[in-house]
Point group: C2
């Protein structure tokens, strides 16, 4: 994989990519003399997406980039002045002009971590005004990244480790940057590559792609290639007129398949020859522009065999319509028979790639035992997350001036957990994940081998656990505006995601009706919640 | 509305925001000597989204911006060279370096037009290599914009013309630019405003927003405002200590409502006072941080009445949880009773805004006859289009070198209509839309008052129509790289969308099980399709 190049080359989210109420609240805080009061927010979600029991944390690299570049330009401040009251004290705008994230501290789950409901993905602390302003961009950068990474991880679980998964959803993405985000984080979640060139350029995602129907249908067959001569793969010996050689092979292939030599479309063949001349080491045939059996397949075989004669190995074929599994099985059968007939064993195992609105259900079919499909291109289903297009993350105030804060709304689901917190993952003696514990930041961490009484969320009774290992979940990434350690590369985060998933037990990994993973509160945290509740109104 | 400022300030989609296969095909065309052959592509969709019968065309302004800025930078070409075969002829990369859209011509439906299946949203013609490269970015820019505009138009149809609709989905958008696109095109589709400040700054979308729960819960009530003095609205007379005045009003309000004066949360009241000091002309109370009835409402009333005494008129309240319709009715009842009790008639009609996961179904409830809701904030449901998160536009080759092209796949749904085409909308004598006709570009346009035999798509029989009016649908925007006329402003396109929708008959506008609007082929176009079909393989 290429290294992650030009990481700052992409425009980070702009500071004004925020909700207006962040700016009006900023003025409210400032007017009340509270702009610089220390505050802490937590970014978390309330339910895992897609009816599953896990989420992959992602988006931190975009948040870090955003926070480090965060500065309001003059034009930004002028725009805010134009939508705030005309008699606003000018020193408020001076305050905004001087604003940056030098007072902001961020702890977060490393990208690729398993995340569960209520456990903070990010803890953001610093001056109240600035950490409030960050709410919307951070939510925007984390929510979709984590959603699409989780979606990709589910698709990878279905596909198994062998199938190659290509993300090709850029055209279906919700805006250009949605495409870049989708390509980046579906790779993190377990895809092998993306069609998105920009994701390759800016994020180092491996890119893949060959040809579309338009390439095939743009040729009529009457074109004369300016230079049809192809040198042998080994570089020695005379070149060969590929078009002429393909013509000869076509006769032999048609005879073998029982087809008339006029049946395969000459334009499609010309397109294949043109593509093979440009990519002799990477020829792929797209079979279904006209008819797979009467045209695409014989044309592909003729070109593949002509290339083979020169020592090249074609990549394979792509199918983009029809019953993809059935077609793949039949195409593989033809490959085997043709390989045997012409004594070219490599032809048996060329790659069969499929695409065409593949969703989780179709992927289950394509990945089944005995399937001859090798590469699966997925667009809409990975990028738009149609089963649930939003993770619904929230960013909630948990403390101000060192005092815990809690939203005590009448809707219990919308209540928050107060106080600055730490989070730990407890593991059992067999290495499996037991549960996550949230506790107050000042409490000592749970100890391996020691009993611990915790209150699983939603339960009425406490539970006693004795963990074999205790892992702190939240890592300090930015301290007072300074990056504390380099972020892992995207490929490293991708590997970490697969490692994280491998430790999750199958009942939590199940995609339908999984067992829910427990998140519990320490006794002290639960006491605080109770106290604030009983106090009624804090 | 502010003018559309700084239209180029936002980074247009970058040229490498494309699928790799566009670049590999570019090399294939180039190697085959076909890079400069004249080609035409059509961008269209096959089915209207959300089970409806109309789509609003949108995204053209982003396409125009993209095309005018289209240039591969050195770094882009270098990246492509790194992923194409190492022995690629360097003159191909010279060709890429010199590439721009100076040979590209674009016809398109104006933004805000009604669009129907198979009718091109865009026709893009020019040198084959470059118009092929444009496929992915154009699809990305048009598909989601049209989807979200259509979604917004449906929500506007449900809400009716009176309710104010605020888009507030930035945090739920699929990446930062997804948010900007959503805000822009939900405004085009009929929303009144957006919470997204960047959409205001870059696109001139009216922005709105006041305060969140975090603002409310950040105050405990023990804070001392640095300056609690507020001058009267008229600017004459002495200022008043707002906090003190609110305290007095609270006693009167609690007595009126039968509440103890200790019940309303002092922190919430301090937050309301702080906000009112910063926004005396635009005070809104968010009622549900603690308890609407025991805290939010009395605190709001105390601040509102104190402001009213100084001659200010509060904007109103926002409800963000619970049964929003029921709460709004009850809150309005309290407003009326309180207005009567204190003889402040303006209080009766302050605005009630609601938000909290509002979808089409909930909107139907909130917009019903007699509803006291005035402003409806919608986030996830408008931005992520959960009913159908992708429009599924395609970009298909229809002619090369003046010859019609058609994809004759075995999947009839994926077949395309060949040839360079014109499109017309036929209107009846009552001004209603009859149907759209697609015909070959060289055919004379249909004439008003004259009978015309056309073939509705999917029908086996022709149909004869006599239109009272004939409107050409596709407008020339870019000729050989030059913008032919300025694009309408966003607000103009928004007005055009509402006008377009007003001409569509109710049976097509129905959101569930609508009558489908007919798109028909001219006899000549149908003959061409038949001929290419009978020819079997073109």
């Amino acid at each position: 994989m290429a290294a992650e190049r030009d990481p700052e080359g992409r425009a980070a989210a702009q500071p004004l990519l925020t909700d207006l109420y962040q700016a009006t609240m900023a003025l409210g805080y400032w007017r009340a003399g509270r702009a610089r009061v220390h505050a802490e927010f937590e970014l978390f979600f309330r339910r895992c997406p897609f009816g599953g029991a896990f989420t992959l944390a992602a988006g931190l690299r975009d948040c870090v980039r955003f926070l480090r570049a965060f500065r309001l330009r003059d034009a930004d401040v002028q725009f805010l002045a134009s939508v705030l009251p005309p008699d606003t004290d000018p020193s408020f705008f001076e305050h905004l002009r001087a604003l940056d994230c030098s007072g902001v501290t961020v702890r977060a789950l490393p990208e690729g971590s398993l995340a569960f409901p209520g456990v903070p993905l990010l803890q953001v602390s610093g001056p109240l005004l600035v950490v409030q302003l960050l709410e919307t961009p951070l939510l925007c950068l984390v929510s979709y990244a984590s959603l699409v990474a989780t979606n990709a991880a589910r698709l990878r679980l279905i596909a198994g480790p062998e199938k190659r998964l290509l993300e090709m959803g850029l055209r279906r993405a919700q805006g250009p940057d949605g495409g870049l985000t989708a390509s980046t984080y579906s790779y993190l979640g377990g895809f092998d590559s993306s069609s998105n060139v920009l994701a390759g350029q800016l994020r180092g995602v491996p890119v893949a792609g060959t040809l579309a129907h338009s390439f095939v249908t743009s040729f009529s067959g009457s074109e004369v290639p300016p230079d049809p001569i192809l040198a042998p793969a080994a570089g020695e010996g005379p070149g060969v007129d590929l078009a002429a050689s393909v013509k000869e092979w076509l006769e032999r292939v048609c005879a073998h398949l029982g087809l008339g030599v006029q049946e395969p479309h000459p334009g499609e063949r010309a397109a294949f020859v043109a593509y093979a001349l440009a990519f002799p080491q990477a020829f792929q045939g797209l079979l279904d522009s006209y008819s797979v059996w009467r045209s695409g397949l014989p044309n592909f075989l003729a070109v593949a065999l002509a290339l083979g004669e020169l020592g090249y190995r074609p990549v394979g074929v792509r199918l983009d319509s029809g019953d993809l599994l059935q077609l793949a099985q039949e195409v593989r059968g033809v490959f085997r028979a043709t390989a045997a007939h012409f004594q070219v064993p490599w032809l048996e195992s060329v790659s069969i790639a499929v695409s065409n609105n593949i969703d989780e259900e179709e992927l289950v079919r394509l990945a089944q035992e005995g399937s001859e499909v090798n590469v699966i291109g997925i667009g809409t289903s990975v990028v738009t997350c149609p089963q649930q297009p939003s993770l619904g993350c929230v960013y909630k105030l948990v403390s101000v001036g060192g005092q815990p804060r809690m939203k005590l709304t009448e809707d219990p689901e919308k209540q928050t957990l107060p106080g600055s917190k730490a989070a730990f993952r407890l593991l059992g003696y067999d290495g499996s994940l037991l549960l996550d514990v949230l506790q107050l930041a000042e409490e000592p961490p749970p100890q391996a081998g020691q009993e611990l009484r915790v209150w699983p969320r939603g339960a009425q009774e406490p539970r006693t656990v004795r963990p074999a290992q205790v892992e702190p979940l939240l890592q300090l990434w930015i301290h007072q505006g300074q990056l504390c350690e380099p972020l892992p590369s995207l490929a490293e985060s991708r590997a970490f995601a697969q490692l994280s998933l491998s430790r999750l037990s199958p009942e939590h990994k199940r995609l339908r009706s999984p067992a829910l993973y427990q998140v519990a509160l320490s006794e002290k945290l639960r006491d605080l919640v109770d106290r604030l509740h009983r106090g009624g109104l804090l």
